[in-house]
């Protein structure tokens, strides 16, 4: 497979030999090259959009720096310093260069470089979204398979309802209700924040992931406390990915179960468990990976709302605080980061599909 390089000519297998294998891997390499190219173009598009949004802000960036009582000379100097006197296209090129080197400007509200802020808050979001997607996959896939195997059963009905709920329930509302029920009434979980205040700041961030860091430090108390705080927001995110993953799994499985080779397997007298998991489930693995990747990207986006509810010190909270303070450098920096991760996961799932699916190879 010439999958490790986007350039077909650099691949030894893609030599112009008249063999079907060579042609096929050449095609796959071309397709992967196309995906890499579209990744670059889309990322540039994202930067262009954030640049454009930065330019339509009614607030004059120079005025924001010097204040509205500054003399004209100071104001003009600030404009020159910020590069606002140059043509728009030059400003855009400079902006792309700055983003590429990690210079996202200074946050007005924290007084620190936006990139440094983002590095600190991103792991918290990553931790929550990752646990969320794990819950979604662990429950959603078996539920979807079960529902397809027994159409009309209780699981099937539940999935239908859950799928609709995933479309119709606002995530922030479910977060609030969850907090009221599981934290306040039942006291099954801990409240907002990543750990209890007593534990706050006790663990030195190594990876930024509270669960990993507390284990590295050997603090099992903090580990379990962090789980208590993490489990509810992650479950709520997990619910939304479960709704999507279960529905898609069910639909893929029904397609497979209607195929003739399944009838053959059943006629051979194979146990139903083997027919379902070994015969029908295998072929849907590849599209399922795509579904899970898309769902993961959506969770990163969905965490914005959940984080505000749970006072979770992640990128969503950072973004909403910046939004309310009209801190545009921080808003655009956070938008860029979430957008880049989102686009990257999307394109990665495209590429994975091409590598894993034997028909696309």
């Amino acid at each position: 497979m010439a999958t490790d390089t986007p350039f077909p000519d650099a691949s030894p297998r893609a030599a112009p030999k008249r063999g079907s294998g060579g042609v096929r891997s050449r095609k796959a390499a071309l397709r992967l090259g196309g995906i890499v190219l579209s990744l670059v173009i889309t990322l540039l598009g994202l930067i262009a959009i954030t640049f454009f949004i930065g330019r339509v802000v009614p607030i004059d960036p120079a005025l924001a720096v010097v204040g509205d009582r500054a003399p004209k000379a100071v104001y003009d100097a600030a404009r020159v310093q910020l590069g606002l006197d140059k043509p728009l296209i030059v400003q855009f090129v400079n902006y792309v260069k700055a983003v590429a080197t990690g210079d996202l400007g200074m946050s007005v509200s924290t007084g620190r470089p936006v990139l440094q802020d983002l590095k600190e808050v991103f792991p918290a979001t990553l931790e929550m979204a990752t646990l969320g997607i794990l819950i979604g996959i662990a429950l959603g896939v078996p539920m979807g398979v079960h529902a397809a195997a027994r159409q009309g059963s209780l699981t099937d009905q539940v999935i239908r309802v859950v799928g609709l709920a995933g479309y119709a329930i606002p995530a922030f509302w479910l977060g609030l209700v969850g907090l009221a029920v599981f934290y306040a009434r039942l006291q099954w979980v801990d409240g907002p924040g990543r750990v209890d205040i007593a534990y706050d700041g006790l663990v030195t961030p190594v990876t930024g992931l509270m669960l990993v860091d507390s284990l590295l430090a050997g603090e099992t108390d903090i580990f379990f406390n962090a789980i208590g705080h993490l489990i509810l927001p992650a479950s709520i995110l997990g619910f939304f990915s479960l709704a999507y993953i279960a529905r898609m799994t069910r639909s893929f499985m029904l397609d497979q179960l209607a195929q003739e080779y399944i009838t053959t397997a059943r006629v051979k007298g194979l146990p139903e468990r083997i027919v379902i998991w070994r015969h029908a489930f295998r072929p849907i693995l590849v599209p399922l990976i795509t579904v899970c990747a898309l769902s993961y990207a959506a969770l990163l986006e969905g965490s914005v709302m959940i984080e505000t509810i749970f006072s979770w010190p992640g990128i969503g909270n950072y973004l909403t605080v910046a939004l309310l303070n009209a801190d545009m450098a921080a808003v655009l920096g956070a938008t860029l980061l979430i957008g880049m991760v989102f686009i990257f996961i999307n394109k990665l799932s495209d590429a994975l599909y091409n590598v894993l699916d034997p028909r696309a190879r």
Binding site: L164, A168, A180, A298, V304, M305
Partner: protein, 303 residues
């Protein structure tokens, strides 16, 4: 007698006039639609939303912005069906008036985004070549962006408020319509009736507007209806963060945000507007599914 005549006229296999054919088609679609229970539930919910918005002053029991500090945070009762909020305003009345805002949002987003997407997609599909590549390139870039985040950043730049929220949601939702319109256009583009009107000297604009766009409408109606739930959720999310409708407007998302502080003791303040959002979103989902089954059976899920 007249009724059965009418029915057979409508269901005639070989209609004698265009009018008969058109009414016959509408009648057949409505017959199929009426057989779908969930779709009818959806239709009833959406009609109820429209009625609530139209007759809000008569349906509401109180003034939605009148404050009564003696009646703060009262639980649901016979006088206040959904209780009162922290300023003593009747939540039921605010939910009823909120229907106007929700309806305005979905209609305005649909009116802004659907025609824009239609035109862009149809132009790309019909003209082909570099126009197609550029337009679809831009569409794909927008499609692979996280919608909510993009809307948030746009509203932050334009300034908080319901108009800007609507604009931001419209800007993030046109690309999927453009994709559909392009796909539909490609299927009709080489049809004989298009070639015939081209030979008669019709311009590209005339062919796109007069022949291609009308053929895209049914799949567009289905898509827009299915998207309504997402639009409502995004608008409510913007309102919740404080970037959408501003107080004292009774927008459902903003109402949930205000009830957030009281969620532990006065649960009804935040929960009630949430139920309104869920019911209306579900209504649009059901209606959209039903419409897809009758208008655009090919694209539906098989199961």
């Amino acid at each position: 007698m007249a009724f059965t005549d009418m029915r057979s006229w409508l269901l005639d296999e070989s209609p004698a006039s265009r009018r008969q054919a058109r009414w016959g088609r509408i009648f057949r679609i409505s017959l199929a639609f009426r057989g779908n229970a969930l779709a009818m539930v959806g239709l009833v919910i959406v009609l109820a939303l429209i009625a609530m918005a139209a007759f809000a002053p008569w349906i509401a029991t109180h003034d939605p912005i009148a404050q009564d500090t003696y009646a703060r945070l009262r639980p649901p009762s016979a006088a206040n069906w959904m209780g009162t909020d922290e300023l003593g305003r009747d939540i039921w009345s605010r939910v009823v008036f909120g229907a106007r805002i929700t309806l305005a949002i979905v209609i305005l987003v649909a009116v802004l985004a659907a025609p824009a997407g239609l035109l862009i997609g149809a132009a790309a599909g019909y003209l082909g070549g570099w126009v197609d590549r550029v337009l679809m390139g831009i569409t794909d870039i927008f499609l692979s962006m996280p919608k909510l985040i993009l809307a948030l950043a746009l509203v932050a730049a334009l300034g908080p408020g319901i108009e800007n929220a609507i604009l931001a949601i419209a800007i993030t939702s046109w690309p999927s319509y453009a994709r559909i319109a392009r796909a539909e256009t490609l299927t009709f583009k080489n049809a004989d009736f298009i070639a015939a009107s081209r030979l008669q000297g019709a311009s590209s604009l005339r062919i796109v507007v007069g022949h291609i766009l009308p053929l895209c409408t049914s799949s567009m109606i289905v898509r827009v209806t299915l998207d309504m739930a997402g639009i409502i959720l995004t608008a409510a999310g913007l309102g919740f963060i404080g970037l959408g409708a501003q107080p004292p407007l009774p927008e459902w998302g903003a109402m949930i945000a205000r009830g957030r502080t009281f969620i532990l003791d006065q649960w009804w303040v935040a929960t009630m507007p949430g139920f309104a959002i869920i019911v209306v979103s579900l209504g649009f989902c059901f209606l959209g599914d039903g419409l897809r089954d009758v208008l655009d059976p090919k694209s539906g899920e098989k199961h």
